[in-house]
């Protein structure tokens, strides 16, 4: 499968009467985009705002961040299964806008927490979104829309916005083209290369995060709670087959679209390693199921992808942590060397306190940081996606978005910590 991503860098965003990109300036007609979004009867109205870095703005109730992307020359295949029709993602050409994102808020969400993005002060400095331009999408539900239906409508509104903006660069020149070309089936039998074959195990989800026991659609428009370990092509992940759940937990759609492990394995493919492919899996609640899934995943990695080594990443949570270790253990027993990515979750103690596994085989651990390390943010002048009364989650005390200072656990400031390895952060004992 071969995918070309044509990147267009956006320097400025201006609202106007037409939507197009010229000379790296995105001219954007909010009324037209509004019409596109309001075709969904579940949405009554929507507020669309352009936000620039440096503005004294805090965006709250953030449920996802999405990079503007669209397929070139393929009708209705954007984010297949969610927005577009069912089609394989990851081939052909995709246009991508850089330095700009779609920030999706759902102020009507009843989930326990959501994320925030600050465009000023320490919050902006820490986050990769702090220096980008954003279109904030803040929809209102139509009268009798069910809670879950509205959540789906919100996600769709975000995806539609992403596609709408990317299409605006139809006639614009490309600043950088990325090519992702990998033919997995031939690699397994490639005896000529002496480079080590490295696969990637992508733990997509954990059912403990299923809000009210129902999973969010994240793979080709379907939920994955009962998904068995599956081989999918890395291009599919880069090109819209996978979107984030309705809650950002140090992972969002933007990061998945730019999946760091996948991009880095591609970068080093043919030079230091052979990228052997990807297996996706889901954490298990029951111990027997965990054993079964770990075994199946390890078998796919060692006998189908024929990998000698595998990188494993997890999602937020303790059970995913245990599950990942089980899977890594199974891989090691199957003869595949592993490196697992885990996060710390306390500011006190030692690593040994916080490892939820004890396997003699797991000797290669990457520590992506303590995703719960607290961040104290200053007062904001303006709020989007909510009001000064919007509660900002902190397990120890209640606080509101407009308070004099706001303290949050790191994983809720979008763009700082990253389970899939994109942040240059480590947690150290000191």
């Amino acid at each position: 499968m071969k995918l070309r991503i044509e990147n267009v860098d956006i320097k400025t965003v201006k609202t106007g009467t037409k939507t197009y990109v010229s000379d790296h300036i995105l001219f954007f007609n909010p009324k037209e985009l509004e019409k596109v979004i309001l075709r969904d009867e579940r949405i009554e109205s929507v507020e669309l705002k352009v936000v620039n870095p440096g503005e004294h703005v805090r965006i709250v109730n953030v449920v996802d961040v999405i990079q503007p992307r669209c397929k070139v020359g393929r009708e209705n295949e954007d984010f297949p299964g969610y927005l577009g029709k069912i089609a394989v993602a990851g081939t052909g050409t995709t246009r991508s806008l850089r330095n700009i994102s779609v920030v999706l808020s759902n102020r009507y969400s009843k989930r326990p927490y959501s994320s925030i993005i600050d465009l000023f002060g320490i919050g902006a400095k820490m986050s990769k979104y702090g220096c980008m331009k954003h279109i904030s999408v803040d929809p209102v539900p139509a009268g009798n829309t069910d809670e879950r239906e509205f959540e789906s409508a919100v996600k769709l509104a975000g995806l539609k916005t992403a596609v709408y903006l990317a299409k605006a660069a139809d006639d614009h020149s490309t600043d950088e083209t990325e090519v992702y070309d990998l033919d997995i089936t031939n690699l397994a039998h490639d005896k000529k290369s002496y480079l080590p074959k490295i696969a990637y195990y992508y733990q997509l989800h954990t059912p403990q995060h299923d809000y009210q026991g129902i999973g969010d659609p994240i793979l080709y428009g379907t939920e994955v709670t009962d998904l068995l370990p599956t081989v999918i092509h890395p291009n599919e992940i880069l090109d819209g087959a996978v979107v984030n759940t309705h809650t950002i937990r140090a992972m969002d759609t933007y990061s998945i679209q730019n999946h760091p492990v996948i991009k880095d394995l591609y970068k080093r493919h043919g030079k230091e390693l052979i990228f052997a492919g990807v297996v996706v899996g889901v954490a298990s609640i029951e111990p027997i199921q965990r054993e079964r899934m770990s075994m199946m995943a390890a078998n796919l990695i060692s006998n189908t992808l024929c990998a000698e080594g595998v990188i494993l990443t997890k999602v937020h949570g303790g059970m995913p942590h245990v599950d990942l270790a089980f899977t890594a253990d199974a891989c090691e027993r199957a003869g595949v060397k592993t490196v697992i990515f885990v996060n710390s979750w306390s500011s006190e103690g030692t690593f040994a306190d916080q490892a939820l596994f004890s396997s003699e085989f797991i000797d290669g651990v990457i520590n992506i940081g303590n995703t719960f390390e607290k961040i104290r943010l200053p007062q904001t002048e303006r709020i989007l996606g909510g009001t000064i009364e919007t509660p900002i989650f902190n397990p120890a005390f209640s606080q509101k978005a407009g308070d004099g200072s706001v303290e949050i656990e790191g994983f809720l400031l979008a763009g700082v910590y990253d389970h899939i390895g994109g942040a240059p952060i480590i947690s150290i004992e000191c």
């Binding site: 809000y211 009210q212 303790g318 006190e348 690593f351 596994f357 000797d363 303590n370 994109g422 004992e429």
Partner: protein, 362 residues
């Protein structure tokens, strides 16, 4: 750059302070102007950057036997010098000296908010007692490599002075990393910025592992002590069983202040009053951020299986269900916390004549 000369105060025991040997271990405080003994080494290393304006000296025995009084006296002697930086010792292997160095650095840092650094050998009991509060540099057993040890202390001191201006910690704190400076980790974890992303580091590590090249894991896997399980109950039908749960079940309003994450407290609830016959969800609450409480709130027996236990009691399979159940929120609490809670609950139910406990989780 501001080159204001740092005011430094140094603490020594009677021996290094050149007051006397063991015979003078009982003497209490004395302040000498300028550096004394090892303080000369400190001064040489500081050079133009700082001046050791005073040396506070105290006998090891006096300090050890009058700890609370001694730290008060010490801070009163140190404060007037308005130091920017404080050093104590190094104490090497000397236990009493290590305790006094640790105690004095702790109070200086707490009261004056300045970096307070000492040095000890790893086996000095002062290390474990004070490492969480004080920067303790790693030294040799004896004063054989004194100058090198002092150098580490000075380097660390100067780094801490520069503080948050040059912090590469995500929090921006002006703290030091034990990989860059020779001190015992203080039992905290902090996020630090790295040159490479986690992804880059991970692939590097995996390639090294495959090629059998040396690599450094970023988190050691714990080694758990083997705990011998007690003998099984001989006669179940004459036993009293208690239920313990870590699902975070408590009374509505969370009056016992459970913490949804990292809890270090537990509560005993009388089953009769906690689960009255006509109970409803409105009386209980789940304080636990790790799972959806929906199913437990519909029926608390799903978490704390009172119904089944009462059945077994009725059938005579067990003699008695203990009238209290023990509840905590078991979500991301440290191993140390869990062990101490377990010990406390264990003591309590043992004293109440319980023979065995069933722990139900989520």
């Amino acid at each position: 750059m501001n080159f204001k000369k740092l005011r430094v105060v140094h603490y020594l025991n009677q021996f290094f302070g050149q007051v006397g040997g063991e015979d003078k271990a009982n003497f209490n405080f004395l302040v000498k102007e300028g550096p004394v003994g090892p303080g000369m080494g400190l001064q040489r290393l500081l050079g133009e950057k700082g001046e050791v304006s005073a040396t506070v000296i105290c006998g090891d025995n006096y300090f050890a036997e009058n700890l609370e009084k001694a730290v008060q006296e010490a801070i009163e002697l140190v404060t007037p010098y308005e130091p920017d930086l404080f050093f104590a010792g190094p104490a090497f292997e000397a236990g009493r000296y290590g305790m006094s160095c640790g105690a004095i650095c702790k109070i200086v840092h707490e009261r004056l908010g300045i970096p307070a650094i000492t040095g000890m050998y790893i086996e000095n009991p002062g290390v474990d007692l004070y490492r969480r509060y004080v920067y303790i540099c790693k030294t040799g057993r004896s004063a054989a490599k004194m100058l090198q040890d002092l150098e580490h202390m000075v380097d660390l001191g100067l780094k801490l002075i520069v503080g948050s201006r040059e912090s590469n910690f995500v929090s921006g704190e002006g703290i030091a990393s034990p990989t860059d400076y020779e001190f015992f980790p203080r039992g905290i974890l902090r996020n630090q910025y790295t040159n490479k992303t986690a992804s880059e580091r991970g692939i590097d590590m995996l390639l090294a592992k495959i090629k059998c090249e040396p690599f450094q894991t970023e988190a050691e896997v714990p080694k758990f002590a083997a705990i011998k399980p007690p003998a099984p109950i001989k006669n179940l039908n004459s036993s009293e069983i208690a239920l313990i749960s870590d699902g975070g079940l408590t009374r509505r309003g969370n009056p016992d202040e459970f913490n949804g994450r990292g809890d270090n407290s537990w509560a005993a609830y009388e089953i009769k009053s906690f689960f009255p016959k006509e109970s409803s969800a409105s009386e209980h609450e789940i304080v636990h951020t790790g799972y959806s409480p929906v199913h437990v709130m519909e029926d608390t027996n799903r978490l704390v299986p009172i119904d089944v236990m009462q059945e077994l009691e009725g059938e005579g399979v067990i003699k008695k269900l203990h009238p209290f159940f023990y509840s905590t929120s078991g979500n991301a609490a440290s191993q140390e916390c869990c062990e101490s809670m377990g010990r406390e609950i264990g003591e309590e139910i043992k004293n109440r004549g319980v023979d065995a406990a069933i722990l139900t989780s989520t």
